[in-house]
């Protein structure tokens, strides 16, 4: 209960601000429409309702978005191509695959960097450089290149998600794996523990807080990657394609609905990582804060 109340309060505040903002942002267009229809002296309450009921508003009102989500999910069969659930699933599957691959790659690179001085110096700058390459620019090349060798569907998209999501994991894990105190490392040295043992018994557990902070960012970015990748591979559907086609057709409400589903997906994913973190913390005997 003490979790629900704050969320509701904040939500309520947002909804109220939203409705007010919708009046302000849609007023301009509504005025044009009304002038054109020769409507004058519209009372404010009616005017507000008009701004909340436009077809292509600058900012759709919450109930319009909710209505669209309802129509595009519950009211449709889940396998229908019009269903947001169907597209959400497509995006989710490449997000998850990309996240798993990205986390694995990130952790692997971090391990190499922490253990090998040459890699530390040569790899890191280029990993950083790789992230500054605008993904949208190379995504088509990846998709076309992989398509030419017969790899299509989820895998190319997941690779793009991976490309974005491994980076926070590398940065965080390098820091995390280096975070054990000197004396904790010294202890391992006195046992002449192998690098592998030091890794499993010391560096890895010590890196947990950083790993989870990075994974939360990583999974969110992975979703962004999945959505972006759909721009270069419109064939398969997905929330990104929905956003896009919504935007061509000027369907603001449709964009917002897809955006909401994507955001909700992200929130759920981040929360799942958060639960995993709590569970791991408990297993590791962390002191309650």
């Amino acid at each position: 209960m003490n979790r629900v109340l704050p969320i509701l309060t904040v939500l309520l505040a947002i909804v109220v601000i939203w409705y007010v903002a919708a009046i302000g942002m849609n007023a301009n267009w509504q005025n044009t429409l009304n002038t054109r229809a020769a409507l004058t002296n519209v009372p404010f309450t009616d005017f507000a309702q008009q701004t909340w009921a436009q077809d292509r508003p600058v900012l759709p009102a919450p109930h319009q978005v909710i209505g669209e989500i309802w129509n595009a999910t519950v009211a449709l069969e889940i396998t229908s191509k019009r269903s947001l659930a169907y597209h959400g699933w497509i995006t989710l599957s490449s997000t998850l695959l990309g996240f798993v691959l990205g986390t694995a790659l990130g952790v692997l690179l971090a391990i190499i960097i922490v253990h090998n001085e040459a890699s530390n110096r040569s790899l890191m700058p280029w990993i950083i450089a790789s992230q500054t390459i605008p993904i949208l620019a190379i995504a088509p090349m990846v998709v076309v290149g992989l398509g030419a060798v017969g790899i299509t569907g989820t895998v190319p998209r997941a690779l793009i998600s991976m490309y974005l999501s491994f980076f926070p994991v590398v940065v965080g894990m390098v820091k995390g794996l280096r975070s054990p105190e000197g004396i904790q490392l010294d202890l391992m040295r006195t046992y002449d523990a192998s690098p592998w043992q030091t890794f499993w018994k010391l560096r890895w557990p010590a890196a947990m807080p950083m790993l989870f902070a990075s994974m939360k960012v990583g999974i969110a970015i992975s979703l962004i990657g999945a959505v972006v990748s759909e721009l270069s591979n419109a064939a398969g559907g997905g929330l990104g394609v929905r956003l896009l086609t919504g935007s061509y057709n000027g369907q603001t409400i449709q964009i917002w609905a897809a955006l909401f589903i994507a955001a909700a997906l992200a929130a759920v994913l981040v929360m799942v990582v958060g639960f995993a973190e709590t569970a791991v913390n408990r297993r590791m005997g962390a002191r309650p804060a």
Partner: protein
Amino acid sequence: MSQLQFFLALVAGGLSAAAFALSVVTPFEQGLLLKAFLALGFMSLIRFFLPLGLWADAALALLGAVALLTTIGAFGPTPAFFWMALVGAWLFSWLFVERLSKALAPRLSDNAGLGLLIPMVFGMALLVIWEVVTRGANVPPVLLPAPSMIGAQLANSAPILWADFVQTFIKSVLPGYAIGCLSGLVVAILVDRSPFLKAGLLPIGNFMSALPIIGIAPIMVMWFGFDWQSKAAVVVAMTFFPMLVNTVAGLNASSAIERDLMATYAADYWQTLMKLRLPAAGPFIFNALKINSTLALIGAIVAEFFGTPIVGMGFRISTGVGRLAIDLVWAEIAVAAVAGSAFYGVIALIERGVTFWHPSVRGGRA
């Protein structure tokens, strides 16, 4: 010699030897330099009897690179020994880097210049391989142009590139980054300050975490216009969440006894924050700053795909792809990579200065 070095030396030498044999039996007049490199690479196997300095490997790698670059066009279909020579040259450069970093390891700080050599060698190797593979294997330039083409384009289009850089990096990325990081930090502190907000805002923060750029970019254009303001807004939205998550984690990073100490002074919330929890959160905050430095750039560039005045790196890239001016696209990418890396580098330097006390910076010495 470590195991890895031994292995590298053996494979590099052996491969050169095999390629040399192949090149001798193939009737080619050209590629004398390549043959010379292969012969010398073969000879490097004497290192197993006579020690060979690490600079010898550097020289071999360099010779190999030059030989490969000068002989690319000389053959019709590229022969197998050419590719073997490429792998060989790459292995020599790797061996060199491996040995150099081992040699430098004990006195790193005194050797900043030589330390820089290592990523440079790695980068050069990457470029040479790229050049040789794209040209050797006739990769269509509209898919992936060779670095030399990109370089030429870089030199030719400097004024355009500069204007794009100013538009995207200076006008969109920097303000967006500053506002996004700052607001992430502030919200994290607010959230931390009030358990009520923590319960209420954090899930909604998560909600915002992955608002896909391509979804918000058109909306931001609608709200803030076509110019840099809407791009900065996208950057704000993208950088906000990593900062929020990391700061929230960082604010819990101080140990119980450190917090107890503050309690005994009856330090108020802000004192505890400024003197204990923020410094202790430093490594986490810098983590976010680093991730955001590259994310901001991606965000601004992608946002420009959705409507801009006709300048900017993202604009140039999207129209470049449409016009198949892929070398210009890669020139932009190169600028983005340099700008992003420099940005990251500056933040990493500041991090070293500010969180000097953290074991990850002190090198774990207690």
